[in-house]
């Protein structure tokens, strides 16, 4: 017993046993229905924004929630991909699907490079290293020619998906984004509940032990990092097409902070948490923009409140309250 007492137990990490259970599938069905109906009730561009950020947050959460690695530099992948997509679509004239693909590939490559460096350290160091590396991307985005400095890349044409579907139609765009989101979400779901996900959890729990069993843990962590970066890139590239722009906002460290907030608010280590968190944060940002309240202060207060009062996040709290099996 004694040896166990000062091993810090991550609060968020509850036993995630078994495969997607009934409540999870139910939640998924509800989510799907809501998302299909959403553009008829809500402002479609707004819902698209939510979806892009939800995917981004889910990708981020894959890393912290299931590999125990807090990245404070995910904006680099999100924003980096947005720039590449915007540039290839606008300047090279690629169709949107190819642009997004290239953006995603870029994020994956960047993820490989950053990951290889960052996984050399753990915990807080990891967070700081990712933060610093993403700052590099920020400065590059600021100084390189093709990124357009402070102006960013504007007026990116939405174009025709596969040459047929006209994305300038709001609904066509919406369902495309929804498809991208669902694809990304499915990948994450599958990853979490896969043999790979199982090893990842083991590493998060006790890394030296995993090594002694013969797992090259660095490879797994790197793989998780690259997966997460890739999906963040997918979100960023899609966002560039939706908003028809890619700007410094996407690569700023505040963006990395925002995605942390989304996951934290919704529930780190839960599958649906980041979706809920993203929806809340995006709504809040929209609402605050029109109010007289200082935005950073409000966001900061929520941050503090989450950390102090509901660390498990909204979905995490609900899951904890209504029976053990988390979605």
């Amino acid at each position: 017993m004694a040896t166990e007492t000062h091993a810090v137990r991550r609060e968020t990490a509850a036993p995630a046993t078994g495969r997607p259970a009934m409540p999870g599938l139910l939640a998924l069905a509800v989510l799907l229905l809501v998302l299909i109906a959403a553009p008829y009730v809500l402002y479609p561009v707004f819902v698209m924004k939510v979806l892009c950020f939800a995917l981004f947050a889910c990708a981020f959460n894959l890393l912290i929630g299931f590999a125990g690695l807090l990245s404070f530099g995910h904006a680099a992948f999100f924003g980096g991909a947005a720039y590449i997509t915007a540039h290839t679509v606008k300047v090279w004239g690629l169709p949107p699907e190819l642009g997004i693909l290239l953006g995603t590939a870029f994020a994956a490559t960047l993820g490989l490079a950053f990951g290889a460096l960052a996984i050399r350290r753990q915990g807080i160091y990891f967070a700081m290293i990712t933060l610093a590396l993403s700052q590099m991307v920020f400065f590059m985005a600021l100084q390189l020619k093709f990124t357009g400095g402070e102006d960013g890349i504007q007026a990116v044409p939405r174009g025709h998906l596969f040459g047929v579907i006209d994305l300038s139609q709001s609904m066509a765009m919406y369902y495309t984004v929804l498809a991208v989101f669902l694809f990304g979400f499915a990948v994450i779901w599958r990853t979490v509940h896969s043999p790979f996900g199982q090893v990842l959890k083991a590493i998060r729990e006790n890394e030296p032990r995993a090594i002694s069993l013969g797992y090259r843990t660095d490879h797994y962590k790197l793989m998780a990092f690259v997966l997460s970066a890739t999906l963040a890139g997918l979100a960023g590239g899609t966002k560039a097409i939706v908003f028809q722009l890619a700007t410094l906002t996407d690569v700023q460290w505040q963006m990395s902070g925002a995605v942390v907030l989304m996951s934290l608010l919704g529930g780190i280590g839960t599958l649906f948490g980041p979706v809920v968190g993203a929806a809340l944060v995006v709504t809040l940002e929209n609402y605050l923009a029109a109010s007289n309240l200082p935005v950073p202060v409000v966001i900061g207060v929520i941050f503090v409140a989450c950390v102090l009062l509901f660390r498990r996040g909204i979905v995490g709290e609900i899951a904890a309250r209504f029976g053990g099996n988390r979605p």
């Binding site: 043999p195 790979f196 959890k201 729990e205 006790n206 090594i211 997966l227």
Partner: protein, 251 residues
Amino acid sequence: MASDVILETRGLTKEFRGFVAVRDVSLRVKRGSIHALIGPNGAGKTTVFNLLTKFLQPSNGNILFNGRDITAVKPADVARLGIIRSFQISAVFPNLSVLENVRVGLQRPLGNSFHFWKSESVLDRLNGRAMELLEDVGLAGYAHRPAAELPYGRKRALEIATTLALEPEMLLLDEPMAGMGHEDIDRIAALIKRVSANRTILMVEHNLSVVSNLSDWITVLARGEVLAEGPYAEVSRHPKVREAYMGSGHA
């Protein structure tokens, strides 16, 4: 006969900033034996373990496993060659269930551990073997509890089950009995005896009754050097060993 020796070290030395913790240790572990490493505190036993499993890099000397030089191999790869260790401080995956703990061990040789696109249900076919292993260590009743909830002794048992899951050719056990009650000690000792049937075991242990009952061969370390070697009866008569380690109580 060379094939008789599964693990061999030659002139193994480890120096920490001027302090020599292990000096010129040459071990020969026979295949299929239970080999104990004993010695006073600070003799360098854990350090030797760490060197063998490459958690530490030797300052000097070579390590040969099955005749192959593994001195430059990485820890995870040492494990892949078939040398699995347990830790002096119990090492389980606290928030995984007991069954899952064992499956983490069983899963590795499958080679699907990077398959993030497959369902984890592919792991279900491991459940049968996992339960067998749990049965072996007396943990079948705990299969679906999180490992964190197990009492200390059971955790050690779980650790051994996970280790055995890998069918290691060679097991390194660092003080497997430390902190255990008497019943647990007997249970684990019996288990070790049982699993030793077709594999080699190298263990560090202070509990001399366990050592004397289990081990075929004993190496005594003191101040980083090999002081004596041989079967228990012989070693325990060695005056230097009595002086440096056993004391007057174990005549």
